[in-house]
Symmetry: D2
Subunit: 363 residues, 4 copies
């Protein structure tokens, strides 16, 4: 394990804890770029490798203009350098085949794909195309700290959650924990709105600017794979529908919950305060004055914050829960770095201090 606190201090970074070498596999993608942004500005990480088959030997800044100042070129994913922490941002199905190689190269592996985020192999048979390395599933820890913090300390295989699942779990978990929502019997409808970055850097006709602009497009009316995570981690079977809307980054989940027993506004405040009052990256935004009275992707764009809020609909005893995140941050790269910070016993917000912008356009 390398330690160059001196160099770091010289560079003017705050140093608490050691410095770890890191690599990013799949660096040209959107979440790969977000990882490179976060890690290159992180006081405890030194990025020594970013891989890309298609952009081998090209500068990182060519793919990610915000990183033009970064002196780093993509290298061949078949030549992995030895690092403390390897972050993989490859498409689903890749890292399950590379996991042995990953662990040969690194002590800790953080995977942002879906390959290790479900606990049971048969869930992969049902929702994906099966699993090549099921023996790793038990070893993997789900990256969402608000759900799984206690198990992340010292974890060596961390599996990032899905962005839509993350938004939903953050919104509903407090109600489950408080007993307001009974996963066995109560009905929940989750209506998600997401930005175009969720489709990744590839694109295609549907994601070309003229076709994708200004849509309210049902892209997963039913059977979205993220249902599997919600089932696995909340024990909850939700009615789940995802829409593409006009933004690039952001995911907003509106959860319509029908508790079996009557619930009060006070019960809801209690549930969310118990869950998130001490959470560094969670905000409860519910009512009050001004323009921004509920969670909005705009308000958290570029940050690792999750915002949750709620209203009570007396008429039909419905609880409406709003949850907003940046799909590439709290929903992917930010969550991964947050989890790595915990696993390595670093300050939870190291490298994640950006507070976001106001005003911003379409995030």
């Amino acid at each position: 394990m390398t330690t160059d606190a001196d160099a770091d201090a010289a560079a003017g970074d705050a140093v608490s804890g050691e410095t770890y070498t890191a690599s990013v596999i799949g660096g040209t993608g959107f979440t790969g770029g977000e990882l490179l942004r976060l890690l290159s500005g992180h006081p405890n990480f030194e990025v020594v490798q970013a891989t890309s088959r298609s952009a081998d030997n090209m500068t990182v800044g060519r793919s990610h203009p915000n990183l033009r100042g970064l002196d780093l070129r993509f290298s061949d994913p078949d030549d992995l350098e030895s690092v403390d922490v390897l972050f993989s941002a490859t498409p689903h199905g890749v890292s399950m085949g590379q996991i042995d190689a990953y662990f040969e190269a690194a002590d800790t592996v953080v995977d942002l794909s879906a390959d290790f985020r479900l606990p049971e192999a048969d869930a992969y048979d049902e929702w994906y195309d099966g699993h090549e390395s099921p023996e790793y599933l038990e070893r993997a820890e789900y990256a969402l700290p608000e759900l799984n913090r206690e198990n992340l300390a010292g974890a060596d295989l961390i599996a990032g959650g899905g962005c839509n699942a993350t938004a939903t779990i953050l919104g509903l978990k407090p109600l489950v924990d408080a007993g307001v929502l009974d996963p066995e019997t109560d009905q929940v409808v989750v209506d998600v709105k997401v930005g175009s970055s969720e489709g990744g850097a590839g694109g295609g006709a549907a994601s070309s600017h003229p076709e994708r602009s200004g849509v309210v497009r049902p892209y997963a009316p039913t059977s979205h794979r993220h249902e599997a995570e919600i089932e696995a981690y909340l024990g909850l079977s939700v009615s789940f529908t995802v829409h593409a809307v006009e933004m690039v980054r952001g995911a907003s989940a509106t959860c319509h919950v029908f508790p079996g027993d009557p619930v009060s506004k006070g019960d809801l405040w209690g549930a969310y305060r118990d869950a998130y009052a001490d959470e560094r990256f969670m905000r409860i935004v519910s009512g009050g004055g001004g323009v921004y009275r509920y969670p909005e992707p705009k308000a958290v764009a570029g940050t690792n914050y999750g915002e949750v809020g709620f209203e009570l609909d007396p008429g039909n005893r419905r609880v409406v829960v709003f949850s907003a995140i940046d799909n590439m941050m709290k929903g992917s790269a930010g969550q991964a770095v947050h989890a790595a910070n915990i696993a390595l016993d670093l300050p939870e917000d190291a490298g994640l201090e950006f507070e976001g912008l106001h005003p911003v356009g379409s995030p």
Copy 2:
């Protein structure tokens, strides 16, 4: 009643039926402008007056740049000219006080506000600020042809529906009529996404461009007034939530329906085909190939079309219904002209032939 078919023919318009003089009250607003656009291009209407207190004597084109070619100036709403048909596009609460004056000036009144769209006075006590002229409520006919065509023929007081209610009713009515959805017992969650034109031309901090751009903003988490229409015309109490999203015109309703009895994809196709196969302005868009596989506001922007589509979620026996309209057209001015065409026995699509654009940006 004036008739100048000759002049019209000379102008190169198709003439079937007579020509009616029309006035638009509240002409500077968005729906007022839309009415002026539709009526000035309508082969059977001649716009003789458009009123505005704030823009008295200014050209219509100053408020509505698309109407720069129209030789018409706003006049004082206190000096109503005698016309065949008066269209009122004033804010809620105005026309209920002006209705006697309206009928002194016109044989037929088409009101786009909420003032006459509910059948019972007590509904106004519950959802609005009461009603000044309840004696007109029974006389008023709800403008939505797909719901109320038979009663619109010869009607002299037509009440335009609310845009969110219209999108919802168009999406759910076929299921109610087919018995797939039992209004008494089945649960329905409606999650609506709307554009900024729904806020009207006024504006305010929340609708300023920097604050409003790119939002996914819950602006009516519960208790939206349009629930009253859905209750009144479908006998259905829905769990209703409205979000503002990044577009100017458009309303999209996603209806999550939980039928008591099992339903098949075939049942759904049957229900929607029975309801809309012969409707001039309804399109069933459900699955199939290409980019636009479900209803989208973009695909109907500027037109009087409504698009509906659906999917079946076997897992939890849910039917997901998508309904998309242009809130200012099928959801307001277009619906009003459509209803007036029926009331006056004109071709249903007279003045409403625009087919929409592709591609378009944020509608």
Copy 3:
């Protein structure tokens, strides 16, 4: 030549003049779709064929959701049906090779590509990849009516102009005609802003929604091919730069003109009124009150209108000219139909009556 005025009359269309059969070659592209929209709503055209290699036998509505109601399927471009008028919307370089086949199938050919829009073959050597059928260049008439109306009557080969050239020529021609601008000696800088539809339906990384959204992107800093048209038809060598901005359809040209001799506001009004006072599709928008005081793409989106306006900068004797069009309409398909109307002695605005929308979002 077919004539079915009866059928048309029965269909409720206004009929002045005969009806012509038409085909659209390259129907899946954006301008092809726009042609199909315009021609299918045109009282004097009957679309009998739309071709596409990639979408052979698929419905037109699958590519263009606004045309879902159109009962037409794409067919093989190698089997051209005999028609009165063939509209070709293929990529540059295709129609110059197909032109003989086009004339075997049709009496009149309207080409929307660049293949016949320059009068001299050597201009193709300089700006394009040379020309396969230079013998047709003299026969071709430039489609812009405001520039070339007198030569369009009876023309059998019509070449549509480039959208950026069209916006520029419409803005500057009145100054050249009035002698305010001397093409030989005066300097002109043209700074153009265009929407993503100009890139066509293909796409690619640069036009994917996440990368293309919200840009102010110099995509042709110098040497844009449309300079050749401006040179050819105005005798003017302009300093030309094109930027991509956040919209889908629209082109706006800001022309900074430096007349050799002093000019007054009155001179400018005179020049533009002389040029456009009687033009059906041109609007002079310059100053005045309200929000829309100058030309804007938004105000003409979906229409065949061109808007021009100007200001005088006394400080440095500069005339600033603004010109706005819809690149797919006045800048392509609308211009083509307008020219065809003239060639066939039909009403100039037949099929082009749409007045545009207000408000609209990003057009």
Copy 4:
């Protein structure tokens, strides 16, 4: 002067140099909010007061949702607390009347309005409404470090530049310094595109979302006040036109320069490298591969970076220069903090380390 390096260190911030107390006058506006964001995250500043008449006693987070975590309420601007540095973000004309009070409260004043950015009083007579406190003009230092770094050290009155002037000066200064551009004789046309935040938090009909969305709107065809700064600091009289385009934050200046003598690509690279190679916040982006080959507001949104690039147009001996900044950062609040860092001998990038996001939507 307060010093609490210990507290800061405990908070995990990097500390080089002392900590200064700061206040922000006019804290509800966009630039005021940006100052609060930057200063609250700045290792060397402690915000002790933010004033607002309209929002007195309300939380800062109510106006700026990204600052919800900040424990600070607006206070009355008539009760200024004693601080080391006072930042004023009031509308033009306010601080010139408050300047004495400002200096009673603070050792150093940084003003973001236009009130002290011009060196000569008569320039205020010509471009603004005159000046109340001309005696301060000589004392004021223009905040743009790339133009005026040497005079900022130890300055106690710093005047932030205008965003459009900043973009233009950053683009043209290297050409003036290198002698490529002769301010006396060479002609320069500057065509600027800006976002809606430039209009401030106020709003009005023209900036309401439905009217402002998707525009390419000439809002200052001629005689923009920022010309005065370009004249004052580059000795250059430019032909200047500003357009509003669809984004919230960002300013892009395209400068069309016509050098009297021939210039080569190498001359241009030399001029820009000489000027900016050692500048912390300037990037030269010109050609090369990938999607982002020239400066773009998107690529610098939220950051203090300025991007400049150029192309040579041999045909008419034109140099096209592109310059992009975030109007609220490099064009206002970021520039102000950068200048304050220099004045107080702090690291230039303290509090300004954010590298920006990719991808982002409309910034």
